[in-house]
């Protein structure tokens, strides 16, 4: 997947359709209420009983933010009351304890990710309490290869915080930036100076963090090519190991905060594409490799190395180098992926807390993957991570005749091939350099659920592809 990324405006425009991001397959809207706590316990038990039980990846969701960014589509709660943070930590510790005792001791936690919301809404001492609790109730890997990452809002970072995170064990950070253009920042209600941002990046480096990621967004109100170019220049100068460039999805009916955005100030589809093109050109010129979806990394970063080695994976936290982990999601709205199951915690604080107060694992909904789900999930994973599908490997592992099994998918794929998005022969399906920005579109060919109504009428949650 190391051929140059081709930017084809006409193609991108034609395929700018709503589609899932495939951080999971099946996607969350297809989780159902039939999956409850006892089913989750059962899947954990089964996962423990495998000959070589999988290692664990933990996700902790911290929903709080001090102020609302208007573009946000995440599940978060705005407050300035630090007491709410401590109360949340107390509940999370209970959940860590409840979940931790269900997993066998020989299952190392090799990955920990704190997302939000704003994880650093919590003070370093509170984060330390969480990590210590994890150490108490799970078996945490002591390997240098373990990934402990935290999403940071640079505006909330105080003196000494970064060093404290490093001491707690965090070794990767992801910073929200979006755009440094003051007009854009005003329009999205996120005023964040270049200085405070660069200071956090410097401090992460100085504290020995293995990688720093920066999130940018294109398609925000009042965004211009000149302003975004300046932002990109500043970020390139700081040279973070990883970069994510997300397309803003304006879905005000679904995401209340977005109603604060004046739709007339949004860039036209042409400008949006030009912003993406600008980002790709600048990042490529600066030596960043395209990883997939919205992600870029320096060639010496673990992600780029893993991708080159065919060893890249994708889960709810995005791309990762750690294969074959069971994913334990803790905190409200978090998603777990244990064995062949997905399950999600309640998306509202009250239900999540109520379950924990009663000593129950807070399971809201979930799904048991059948053999077909497992097979399609693997095909989509290969595509999203490697940009290609190895037909022989899939046939051997799943005992299928690919052409026969996926006859319908391949039928859909043929028109994408005609448009130059993908190429296929008997052994391989490859996303072309033109198609790599449209991996989702190719993956959608293999999604059995796309034409099925979701249980909770959540179809429109999907953002557009670009």
């Amino acid at each position: 997947m190391n051929s140059p990324l081709a930017f084809d405006a006409d193609l991108l425009r034609r395929y700018d359709l709503p589609g899932p991001r495939y951080t999971s397959y099946p996607t969350a809207p297809h989780f159902g209420a039939g999956f409850d706590e006892s089913r989750l316990r059962d899947h954990i038990r089964r996962s423990n009983s495998e000959p070589l039980p999988r290692r664990l990846s933990l996700y902790l969701h911290v929903p709080y933010c001090f102020s609302p960014c208007f573009y946000c589509g995440c599940n978060r709660i705005i407050t300035r009351d630090p007491a709410r943070g401590q109360r949340y930590v107390d509940s999370l510790v209970r959940e860590i304890e409840l979940a931790g005792r269900l997993f066998d001791r020989d299952r190392d936690v090799v990955q920990l990710h704190l997302g939000g919301g704003t994880p650093n809404f919590l003070r370093p001492a509170q984060l330390r309490e969480l990590v210590e609790s994890i150490g108490l109730h799970f078996h945490v890997s002591t390997s240098a290869q373990r990934d402990f990452s935290i999403e940071l809002d640079p505006r909330c970072v105080r003196e000494g915080d970064i060093a404290a995170y490093a001491q707690t064990g965090f070794n990767r950070a992801s910073l929200g930036v979006q755009d440094f253009d003051p007009e854009v920042q005003q329009a999205v209600n996120r005023i964040q100076s270049v200085e405070e941002t660069l200071k956090v990046i410097d401090e992460c480096r100085a504290s020995g963090f293995r990688s720093v990621n920066v999130d940018l967004i294109y398609g925000l109100p009042k965004q211009t090519l000149e302003g975004f170019a300046r932002t990109l220049d500043i970020v390139m100068e700081a040279r973070p190991h990883r970069l994510a460039v997300y397309g803003y999805a304006h879905l005000p009916d679904l995401f209340k905060p977005q109603r604060q955005i004046d739709a007339t100030l949004l860039p036209s589809p042409q400008l949006k594409l030009a912003l993406l093109q600008l980002a790709i050109e600048k990042l490529s010129a600066a030596g960043y490799r395209y990883i997939g979806m919205d992600h870029f990394a320096l060639p010496e970063d673990d992600l780029a190395i893993a991708q080159a080695a065919g060893d890249l994976h994708r889960n709810f936290m995005g791309y990762t180098t750690l294969a074959d982990c069971d994913l334990v999601g803790l905190g409200m709205s978090s998603i777990s992926h244990i064995g062949d199951s997905f399950s999600q915690n309640p998306r509202d604080l009250a239900s999540w807390e109520a379950a924990l107060d009663q000593g129950r694992l807070p399971v809201w909904r979930g799904l048991e993957l059948d053999e077909d789900d497992v097979l399609r999930a693997e095909v989509i994973q290969q595509l999203m991570c490697q940009g290609e599908i190895d037909i022989d490997a899939v046939e051997t592992r799943h005992h299928i005749d690919f052409a026969e099994y996926f006859a319908e998918s391949l039928g859909r794929l043929r028109s994408l091939c005609a448009d130059g998005l993908a190429s296929m022969d008997r052994r391989r399906i490859i996303a072309t350099s033109r198609g790599r920005l449209l991996l989702r579109i190719i993956a959608m060919c293999f999604d059995r659920y796309l034409n099925q109504p979701a249980p909770q009428a959540e179809r429109t949650r999907f953002s557009r592809v670009i």
Partner: protein, 249 residues
Amino acid sequence: MKDVPGRRLHNPIADDGDEFHFCSTCAFSAACLDSGYDKSQLRDLHVLVEHTGPFREGEHIFREGEPFTAIAAVRAGTVKTYVIDADGHEQVQGFFLPGEVIGLSAISHGHYPCNAVALDSVLLCRFSFPNIAALATRMPGLQHQLFRLLSQDIGKAALLAGNYSADERMAAFLIALSRRYAARGFSPNRFQLSMTRSDMANYLRLASETVSRVFRRFQDEGLIRVERRDLELLNRPAIEALARSVLRD
């Protein structure tokens, strides 16, 4: 699952027989055919050959102390036998694969001396014991086969009694499974481990963590590849070498 287009059969399931043909894994078909009996003739002799199941995962096939009426050949799935010791702990006695016969240890007792539980979806072929024993007196081939099965059953338990390392035990276990699958016409180097890790640990008299540690080491050394419950033997000679002292061959 069978009607999904493009999906090939994967799990070891015997080709089912019918009124006139034996199942491909049948423990007795060769003996009967050698003696000149085909299946329809057996029926004439009122030998009960009864297909039962499916038993679901966790379902008991017989329990300790129940009166012994039949031995049964596994047609599909895996069966675990175990007893509960004086301290109330489970002791796993063995695992039975397609084509293998359960209930043999009951022959001398008149009742089942252990519990048998399905580890996955299990299909059985039940032989009413008095009837097959009576038939055996008239069919030397069948009698010989019964004796052979009985002695194999005794030998299996003796396998792991010695003072062996965890690596040796595990290697012997994998090679024994592999040979048993191969003997029934299944792939010797790629099969499913239907038993849980704690069942394996119990059977091999190892700690559960030791089982996963040995699996991980074997995998890191390129001897095997484990994915979920699928096992592939990548370096068979090396595993055989480790297993040699246990298997004594």
